[in-house]
């Protein structure tokens, strides 16, 4: 059997970060977070544990909202969504995310689509997982050019949510709410601290027990490549086909 691929390692890592959530929401074009959510659900089901609800935006099959596009946000505001994912064109060391553009706003030299729901969800979803595969100084900057949503807020601002972890193609960081900084907790196999430091435009802490990002046991890999991949193909056919080819 093909050993765990880097992509699969990211998926199982996200599934670990989601452990314990009751309801996870996944953005429209986020196949890996969707796969991770489905993996977690399959694992919980097999263990006879409570199963997380998964809402995939834009999907008909994996979306049980009946009150239009606003319901996701209402649901999050009510505290009914425990985890969500954000990417971003830029992310800085204070956990600020920029989905709007590089350069001076409003005439951004590089314009991205826009903030979508981030300027709200980042404040009200307890476990926001920042997921950006491209790990370069262009993405991980010292200070974002536009704050779609800030990583932290002054104490008087009511806020139940915020950054929880940052996962990239090189490693996994956790966000330290007190220090308002990221802490590198593990490196993916084949990558070094020096490499991560060179590719990161902001300063970060390093966990004393910095180790290798965990892989998956045989049972997890079976679940991932079996029922999860089949289920994912219904919503993300192109991604699933590519994944299937990578492990053939």
């Amino acid at each position: 059997m093909t050993p765990l691929t880097p992509r699969e390692r990211l998926i199982v890592t996200i599934a670990r970060l989601l452990d314990g959530v009751r309801h996870v929401a996944v953005g429209a074009s986020s196949p890996m977070p969707a796969a991770a959510s489905m993996l977690l659900r399959a694992q919980k089901l097999a263990a006879g544990a409570p199963v997380p609800k998964i809402s995939i935006l834009g999907s008909v099959r994996h979306n049980f909202f009946t009150n239009g596009g606003v319901e996701l946000f209402d649901c999050a505001g009510q505290g009914r969504i425990d985890a969500f994912f954000l990417g971003g064109g830029q992310i800085d060391g204070a956990g600020n995310v920029n989905l709007v553009g590089a350069g001076e706003y409003p005439r951004s030299t590089v314009r991205w689509p826009g903030s979508f729901g981030s300027a709200y969800l980042y404040y009200v979803v307890p476990r926001v997982i920042l997921f950006r595969e491209e790990h370069t100084p262009r993405v991980f900057v010292e200070k974002v050019d536009f704050i779609s949503a800030p990583g932290a807020s002054p104490p008087e601002v009511q806020r139940s949510g915020g950054p929880y972890a940052l996962l990239t193609s090189l490693g996994l960081f956790q966000f330290d709410k007190q220090r308002r900084r990221f802490r590198l907790v593990s490196l993916h196999p084949g990558h070094t601290l020096e490499e991560v430091t060179a590719a990161t435009g902001f300063a970060f802490d390093v966990a004393p027990e910095l180790g290798e990002t965990l892989g998956a046991d045989a049972a997890t890999l079976d679940t991932l490549r079996g029922p999860v991949l089949d289920e994912l193909a219904e919503t993300y056919p192109a991604f699933a086909a590519d994944w299937r080819a990578s492990i053939a």
Partner: protein, 271 residues
């Protein structure tokens, strides 16, 4: 309901400076109105994307109809960035009212309720809020300690347009669970709808169906346009034609490419 209304009549209702509300890609975009609108060419439109814009917004921007875009994003989804929007941003040729999805919904909700604003969590400390002087941070009047919250003013579009699967002859429109379409209609002065099918029997006959109906009270006119959302999909009816959107994205990368595409588009040579 007004009888014998055409797409051109609806386009004519969109006047210079009109605040025009359009829905997100997957909610039912009245794409068939795009070409009539561009031919009619009202100027300086204030586009309200509910809550994000796609190919329709990009075409209207590229054709020079839009002065202001109020949105939480403009994107072609899988086909990538919205080329005309991005160009207009770089050129500074459109005013941006940068928003976030729930703030667009909040503004429409305020209008729906006939109240001046709706308060909303989040936003404080973001550059989204910093660039919206029309939003106000207020103190929660019910809190004993400091509790800042953002007041989002009502959004009152002049015109809303969208596409839905079904209407009856009385002008009642079936929107199912796409409730943002109702929110748009409640908030807007005039709402025009294109539909796949118009049926003779009233949508209120069956209580199960009636729960998903936007009453004619809020709808000025309905025009039957089969496949009226294409190349976007229509929930429960047909999927999006992603290849067509990708073709548009490629063509519109340059102003010349966009002009050529637009000429074909207006001539009915691309969907």
């Amino acid at each position: 309901m007004a009888p014998d209304v055409t797409l051109d009549d609806i386009a004519a209702a969109v006047h210079d400076g009109c605040t025009l509300a359009i829905p997100v890609d997957y909610a039912g975009v009245a794409m068939a109105l795009t070409a009539p609108l561009i031919r009619r060419a009202p100027r300086n439109l204030h586009l309200v994307c509910v809550p994000t814009g796609g190919m329709q917004a990009d075409l209207l921007i590229g054709a020079g109809l839009v002065g202001t875009v109020e949105t939480s994003a403009v994107s072609l989804g899988e086909a990538g960035g919205a080329p005309c929007f991005n160009r207009a941003v770089r050129a500074g040729s459109i005013r941006l009212r940068e928003s976030t999805c729930p703030a667009v919904h909040a503004g429409l909700l305020a209008a729906q309720k006939g109240v001046p604003f709706v308060p909303m969590r989040g936003l404080i400390g973001s550059d989204v809020a910093a660039n919206r002087p029309d939003w106000r941070v207020i103190q929660n009047p019910f809190a004993d300690s400091a509790d800042p919250i953002v007041a989002i003013p009502a959004i009152h579009p002049d015109v809303a347009i969208f596409h839905a699967p079904l209407a009856d002859r009385d002008g009642n429109v079936w929107i199912g669970r796409r409730r943002e379409l109702a929110a748009m209609a409640y908030a807007s002065r005039r709402t025009f709808v294109t539909v796949e099918t118009i049926i003779a029997e009233s949508l209120f006959e069956d209580e199960t169906v009636a729960a998903g109906v936007l009453p004619a009270l809020y709808v000025e006119a309905v025009v039957q346009v089969p496949n009226g959302a294409r190349p976007y999909g229509l929930w429960g009816k047909y999927p999006p034609q992603t290849d067509t959107v990708i073709r548009y994205a490629r063509a519109a990368r340059t102003p010349e490419g966009f002009e050529a595409y637009l000429a074909d588009y207006l001539a009915g040579r691309c969907p």
